[in-house]
C-alpha cells in the first residue's frame, strides 16, 4: 500500500500509541500531519483553521484519547474536571464536527477514535478519564449514524493497556497484575494496534463502522475473581502475584 497523496491527521501525539501509529502509517506512505501546539482541539475555529489547507488531500483523522488522568471522585480537582472535559468529550465533539463536515463534502473519509477499554471497563480511580471515554464512545456511534451515508466511516477502538508504568500502578483493580491478564501473559507494546489502524483506513473496514471495536488483546476477557487450577496445578493466583 502506498498512499503518498493522502493526508492522515493525528490530532494528539502525546501517547506512545499515537507516536507509534504516526511512524507506522508514515512508513506506509501516508502523509501524517499533527496540529501545531497552539491549536486547542476543543475550539472549533482553531480546528477549522488548521484543517482548511489540508482539505483537498485529507483522507483520515485519528483522534487518540488524551493521557490518563487518575484520581477518585473526591481526589480530582475542578481544574482536572475542566481540563479533561476540554481534552476529552469537547475536543472529540469539535474534531468530529469539523472533520466530518469536510469528509461529507468530499463524500468520503475516515475518522478513528483511538480510545480505551475504559469506555467499557472502570478502573476504580479514573473517574474523569472513563466518563470521557464513555462519552466519546457514544459520540462515535452518533457520528457514524450521521455521516456514514455520505461515505464517512467512523470507528471507535478500545485499546488495552500498554504502558509498563501504568501497569505498575496500584490505582486500579483492573491494572493489578495486568500483564498476566492478557491471554499471552504479557503486555502488548504500544504499536500493537498499528496494523488495525492501517486496516481501518481502508474501504474494506467499513463493516466495522458505528460500533466499538474492542482491540485490547484479550485483557478484559479475563475474569478477575477466580484462581485457576489446571490438572491439579495452580495455574494463576493473584494473591501470589506481587510486583517488586
Amino acid at each position: 500500500m502506498k498512499d503518498t497523496d493522502k493526508i492522515v491527521v493525528i490530532t494528539d501525539l502525546r501517547t506512545e500509541e499515537a507516536k507509534s501509529a504516526a511512524e507506522y502509517l508514515s512508513g506506509l506512505g501516508y502523509e501524517i500531519v499533527t496540529p501545531p501546539a497552539d491549536v486547542h482541539l476543543w475550539k472549533e475555529e482553531e480546528i477549522a483553521a488548521f484543517a482548511a489547507p489540508l482539505k483537498d488531500r485529507l483522507y483520515g483523522v485519528i483522534h487518540p484519547a488524551p493521557p490518563v488522568t487518575k484520581g477518585g471522585i473526591l481526589e480530582v480537582s475542578e481544574e482536572d474536571w475542566e481540563r479533561t472535559s476540554n481534552e476529552g468529550a469537547i475536543a472529540a465533539f469539535m474534531v468530529t464536527k469539523v472533520f466530518c463536515t469536510i469528509f461529507r463534502e468530499k463524500k468520503g473519509g475516515v475518522l478513528i477514535f483511538l480510545n480505551s477499554i475504559h469506555a467499557e471497563k472502570p478502573m476504580g480511580k479514573g473517574i474523569l478519564y472513563s466518563l470521557n471515554c464513555g462519552a466519546v464512545d457514544m459520540l462515535s456511534r452518533e457520528a457514524a449514524q450521521d455521516y456514514s451515508e455520505s461515505g464517512v466511516n467512523v470507528y471507535f477502538v478500545e485499546k488495552g493497556i500498554t504502558d509498563p508504568e501504568v501497569g505498575k500502578s496500584d490505582v486500579s483493580a483492573l491494572y493489578y497484575g495486568v500483564d498476566l491478564r492478557y491471554p499471552r501473559r504479557k503486555m502488548p507494546e504500544a504499536g500493537y494496534l498499528n496494523g488495525l489502524l492501517a486496516f481501518l483506513l481502508t474501504d474494506a473496514a467499513y463493516p466495522l463502522t458505528g460500533q466499538p471495536i474492542t482491540a485490547d488483546a484479550g485483557l478484559t476477557g479475563f475474569y478477575n475473581q477466580h484462581r485457576f487450577k489446571v490438572e491439579g496445578r495452580e495455574y494463576f493466583d493473584f494473591t501470589k502475584f506481587r510486583r517488586k
Binding site: E44, M94, G126
Partner: protein, 257 residues
Amino acid sequence: MISPNSEENRVALVTGSGKGVGAGVIRVLTRAGIKCCINCNTNRTMADQLLEEVQSYGGEAFIYQADVTDPAQRKGMVDAVIEHYGKLDILVNNAAMQPNKFIDQYTEESFRWLWNINIGGYFHMVRECLPYLKESPQGRIINLSSVHGKRPATFDAGYATTKGAIRQFTRELALELLSTGITVNAIDLGGCKIEFKTGKAQFQTFHPLELNNPSWKRPDLTVMPEEVGHLIYYLCSKEGKAINGHGVRIDNGLLLT
C-alpha cells in the same frame, strides 16, 4: 411494591424533580415514607404543585430552587437538606436537558452548556453529597440516563454523548465506592411521558415491526414517571443492594428491535 425497609428515616435528594421524571420519583419515594428534597431550577410553579400533592397524602418534602451547574447553589441545596433532615441517604441525579440537535448544529458553547448540565451536574452533585452518603448505612446514588447511552439517537449526538459519559461515570463510581456500601446505578430510560421536553423533536417515531405489517397493533411503549420511581425505590431498598454499577433499562422493550 416491595416490603419497606427503614424508609421512614431515609432522606433523598432528587435533582430536577419539580416536574417530569423527577416528579414521578418524588411521588413514589414520599409515598414510601422517604423524606425528599424537591429540586427545581426555573419552573417553581410546578414544584409548588408537586409539594402540595405530596403533602396531601402525608408525604414529607421541601423545595429547593437551585441550578446544579452553579457551585454555590449546589452547596446551598445540600446544606439545606442536612439542615432540614440532618442526613442524606439517597441522591438521584436527574436534572438534564435534551436539545435535539445534530452534530453540526452544536457550537462549542452549546455543547459545553449541555455537558456541564448533563454530566457536570451529576459529577459535582456526587462530590457535594458523598461525605453525607458515606455516613448512611444504606447509601444510594442513582443516575438517570437514557437508552441513548447505549444506542445512538441519531437526532441528538450531544445528548447521547453525555449519556455515554453517565454510563462510565456510574461504573467508575460504583467500583470506587465498593467498600463504602454505597451502590451506584444508572437508569437507561426509554420514551417517558412528561409534561414537555427541553428541545423540539426533529423526528417522527414509529415501531420497526409496523413497517412491514400494517395490521400489527402498535403498543404504547411510553414509560410513566412513577414506573421509574418504583424502579429507583427498589434499587434504593435493602433488596436492591446487590445491583451495583449497572445501567437498568426501562423502556417497555423499545430497544429490543
